[in-house]
Structures are given as C-alpha cells and as structure tokens.
Symmetry: C2
Subunit: 353 residues, 2 copies
DNA sequence: CTGAAAGCGCTTACAG
DNA sequence: CTGAAAGCGCTTACAG
C-alpha cells in the first residue's frame, strides 16, 4: 500500500512516446493513432500507473468538486434529517454535472479555518447564522459561493426562504385559535444579547412572529410571550419543553423553529402526560417526513429542502462555468407553506372559535 | 468572482521577503520573527492572498480528506437512512482527525471511473457487491482503502459483519414458530443467474438462511421457499410484497434483507388489509431507528452501522499515517443481534408453539 | 499525429 | 532567522 511513484514520465519512457502523448491518451484519446493509444495504455497497465489528481487540479485549475461548508461537526449535522434531504438536493445536481461533493465541517471549531484548505471549485455555505469573517474569507478565496440558511449579505449570492411569511401565517392561526401565552423555541446560535441581536433564519422567523403578534397588540416583550433558545436536536426540544412547563405561567402553544425540536417537545409532552393539542399546541418548521407520522401529526411550515440544495448547487455550477462574474447577483427566494395538522388546536381555556 | 491570481510570490514581493518566508508564515510561523510574520500577514491581507489547495496537495502529497466511494447516485444513496448513520460514524473519525469527507458517487455510471479523479488520502468503499475491476483500480491508485458491505477479497482490508450468524438465528426463530412458506427479499444487485451467483452481503445473508433451513430439511430450492430481489428502497418493499402476495402459495413470513425494504412490505401489507403478524410475519435487517416506531414494530437484525463507519475511517487513518504498509491485513468483524419485536409471530395455520 | 518546453503554486531541504 | 533552488506531476499551447 506504499504511495504510487509511477508518473506520466515513466509511462512515456516505457511506451517510447512523450509525456504529452500519455496525457492525451487519458484526456483526448481521439488525437492519438489507435496503435499509439494501445501502446501507451499497455505501458500504463504494466507499470500500474495512476494519474495524480492534485497535479491535474493544479494544472487545470479545476477540481470537479463542490464544497459544502457546514456549521457543525459532521455527526451532529447528520443527526438532523433536514441535512439528509438537503444533501439529496445537492446530490442531484452533482450527479448531473459529474461532480463530487466535499463535506467541510469546521476545522478546529472554526468554519473560517476550513475555508482555505478545501480543494473545491465553489462552496455551498450552510447555516452561517452570524458572519465572523467567513464571507470575507470566501471572497478572498476567489471561488464562487452561495449562502443557504444564512445571514443575508449585500451582493452575495444566496438561496432564500419566505420564512417570515410562513411564520406570520402560523402565528396568525394560533392567535385566531385563542392562544395568547405563546412560547417560541428558537434554534440556538451563539449570539449574545437575546433575540434583538439574532440574524439569519432565526431573525427572519422571529420577525414574522413579531409582525403577527403586533396585530393583536402583543410583542415578544409581552408577559405572555416567552422566547427560549435550544440546540437544534430532539433533545433540545425535550429540554425546552421541561423548562417551559416548569414555569408558573405555562404557554398554551409552543412554536418551534425546527421540526426536530418540535419532535422533542412532543416526546417530552407525552412523557409528562400533557395532551397535544387539547392542553398544548405544538408546531414545527421544515416538514420533515416524520412530521406526518408523529402522534399527533405535526403542524409545521413546509420548506422545499431538497430544492434548496439543488438550486444552490445549480447556481454554483453556473457561476463556476461562467467565464466572467455574473452581472446580476443570484438571490433566489423560495416560498413556504403552512401545513395544519393534528398537533395544534384551540387554546385550552377558550374552546374552538 | 474571478479566479484569484495572487500567489505566494506576490506576497513575498510585497513584503520584501522570500517565498519560503511566506510559506512559513502559514505553516510554521514560530520560525519567523514576530516582525516578519506581521509584515507578511499584512501584505497577504492587503493583496487578498489565499493559498492554493491543489498546489499544496501536490507538494505535500497529502489532501487531508477521506473519500467515500458509493455504489449509487448520491440522492439514491441518501434515501436510505442507513447511510446517514454510516456517514455519522465516518464523520466522528473525520472530526477527530481534522479531515474532510469527499462523497464519490459513480462517474458516468461507473464506480471504476470515479476512482482516479478523487483527491483523497484513502477510500472507504461501500457496497461493492461485485468486483468489476474496482479493487485492481484501487490498488493501482496506490492509496489505502477499506471495503465495507462488500464482497470479501483476500488480503484486502475490510470491516465485516457477522451477518450469516444473524440471519441463521432469525430463520431458526421463524422455523420454530412454525413458518415453512418463507420468502426472502434480497437487495437487488446486478448479478445474473440467481442467488447461487450472489456475492458480498446478500450472499452471506442467504448463506445464514440456507444453513438454518437445512436443519429442517429445507433449502432455497424447496417449493415452499421463495427468493426475490428488489431495489433497496421502500418502494422496492412495496413491489416485492405485491408480487409475493399475488402468488398462489403465499408465504407466511417475509424476510427482508434490509429494514427499508421491510418498511415497504409493512406499508403494502397494511394497504392490502393483511394483518402483521397474525397473517404474515415480516422481518428486516439493520435496525434503523424507525424500526422501533413502525406499527407493529419491526423484528430485525441489528448491526452497528455508525460503528462500522467509524472503524472503517479509523483504519484508513491508521493506514494513511503508517510509514509502511501494515504487516497484517485489517479485517475487523462486527457482531449482529437478533431483535424480536412485534412484526413476527407464529405461523397462521399452526398457532403458537 | 507527435514532441519539447513552459508553467500551474506551493513546500522543503539546504546553505548561509 | 532568511533566501535561492529544486521539484511535486500534470496539461497545454506551440512547433513540426
């Protein structure tokens, strides 16, 4: 298993041709006579020659692979089925274009540090909630990139979601159902200073909620409204439920910013003997497939996860292929849809409206 | 977004130092005086310099990434939650070692073609049921690799599973429960000529079944035993159920070679109004987390999926780091466990034994 | 149809 | 502590 030391030169020598001819045999064999080609291939075979991808990349300035820059460790990220679907979408494009996909988790805890080392033609940046220099580093890297589920940046390509609108619809519905004590369970980011300092998806989701609350004379600051942050995992949902249920004023509705969190809330509610939705309404965000099987099934805001991945990758491919920078920044916006299912209903004290 | 043309030479010029000094600044900054270092970093910053990963790889003969060679398109592969868990396991090791993970699906339909192009330090090869030259190509590539869920090869490192044993236990149990009309629903490979020509995991699983059947004077050739092949998807399970249920002699037990297939069988059985397990026993293989939530919960053979990924990656890292080829071929064998749950029971005609 | 030459951008001994 | 030189292995014009 020792490193292969056979180079194109060795093959050329053995076949009595130039290095160029050997290169042609692999990259543009039509330009060679059949005899020469066979001769070269035989020599390569006998020697056990294999091209060096790094040398090829350096020379061609092409890696034929896309990078997915991730906000967390690989195993953490994959705990959320969200990423499986997202990867599927990216995978469709990669397949079509014959590209490989490099998964790039933070290096020594930092997304920033991972950026210079990845041999890719472009990056899909996922979950960059809060820019700490990553965008600058990406620009400096000099290859195209697309932001997904990230803070919005002027002039930076991205795939966006109509999440504000989706959240507004959901909260509208809950308010109409008589809910006033509402808890928002947001995805934990390491922003300090509470929800006013949020950015990216959580900010936009809270924004929708805020707009909706305002119509009923409420705000995130109101006594009846609670905001908590929790890790984006099932366990995060369990924890959040327990915290909230231990309060004096229990909420009648819990609005989770992610399905996986909502699943955890459902688990913890069942364990605590709390009936959903008669005692507590619970909603999620994403519409993972599991959301329709839970007991009760989960009210949620659907987003086209795989499509998001596919579009991000398609844009990247476009930008990589383009000879010059596109004159117009690509900022796609995808719509969401409110799905009312079994986990939400009228607020306990009021009965159905 | 034009390609970055600033090289280490430009930075060196601007900082009035040699290229070596600039390289040192990034790779071994202790060897530089504080003043020089700052000087270089400032110049790099001003110029917007970014290292070229390909050049670095070529020079160092290191990519710091692992390749996962996949048997199918990325989006197909990720349809099976099996791979999510497997990736998590690999991810743990990558994280620990500061490695990235390159997903390498077949190139133009061929695993073989993808092998020479991936810039990786080693390959984890998944689901190479039937070798068509891949092993030779991998050897030729001159970098370490580990086979997982693949045909066994003399002298080739692999992570194996005690699947024969697991299957034997399962079929024993079914036979004791009075089942005689048993259908085996295998994962489709493109081997011609029926089960005798199978290799790799399906062969080993069928082997266990065969051994067990023999004790009751049965064999895969017996009239009461059916073998079908189906794609390893939920839909594959649905199709298999329908085919089998349309036969004159319906089986009383369906033994799927994968949980995801078993889920499809359960779906189709419910749809057909067939009660599991009173009319039909169904079993899977894998123990995906969903297996304990299905209705009824699924009897299956547990395998340590994430562990398999982690070990494969660990071995690879070892082999990459080792100065010389390991004197002993690494062929790990992991055990399986039969989990009896709600989807299996006594054969209909006989009642409980 | 084939070959000689240049160069992709970096790191690593080596010399000072 | 710093610099000049060599070379990693390939592809791409260019000339013939």
């Amino acid at each position: 298993m020792a490193r292969n030391r056979i180079t194109i030169q060795d093959v050329a020598n053995r076949a009595n041709v130039s290095k160029s001819a050997v290169s042609l045999a692999y990259n543009d064999s039509k330009k060679l006579s059949e005899a020469t080609l066979q001769n070269i291939l035989r020599a390569a075979e006998e020697l056990g020659y294999s091209q060096d991808p790094a040398a090829r990349m350096l020379r061609t300035q092409r890696t034929d692979s896309l990078g997915l820059l991730l906000p967390q460790q690989l195993d953490k990220v994959l705990e959320n089925p969200y990423y499986t679907q997202f990867l599927q979408g990216i995978g469709q494009t990669c397949q079509q274009e014959g590209l490989t996909l490099l998964l790039v988790p933070p290096l020594r805890g930092s997304m920033l540090k991972a950026i210079p080392y990845a041999a890719v033609d472009g990056f899909i940046v996922s979950g960059l909630e809060y820019d700490r220099g990553e965008v600058t580093a990406l620009r400096q890297r000099g290859i195209p990139f697309v932001l997904v589920d990230s803070e919005w940046h002027e002039g930076v390509p991205s795939v966006e979601l109509d999440e504000t609108e989706g959240m507004r619809e959901l909260v509208d519905y809950l308010l109409r159902q008589g809910h006033r004590r509402i808890a928002f369970i947001a995805i934990e980011t390491d922003t300090a200073g509470g929800y006013q300092n949020w950015r990216g998806p959580v900010q936009r989701r809270m924004q929708g909620a805020t707009e909706s609350l305002a119509q009923y004379g409420l705000s995130p600051e109101s006594d009846s409204i609670t905001i908590v942050e929790t890790p984006c995992t099932r366990l995060g949902g369990v924890t959040a439920f327990r915290t909230l249920w231990a309060q004096d004023e229990r909420p009648t509705a819990m609005v989770a910013f992610s399905d996986i969190i909502a699943f955890g809330i459902l688990d913890a509610a069942r364990e605590a003997g709390v009936d959903v939705p008669s005692q507590l309404s619970v909603s999620g965000f994403d519409d993972l497939s599991e959301a329709s099987w839970t007991m009760p099934s989960l009210t949620t805001i659907r987003q086209p996860i795989a499509t998001k991945g596919r579009l991000a990758a398609e844009y990247l491919v476009e930008a990589i292929t383009a000879s010059s920078p596109p004159d117009t920044t690509h900022q796609q916006r995808l719509s969401t849809a409110l799905l009312l299912r079994g986990s939400t209903g009228a607020a306990p004290a009021l009965g159905p409206t």
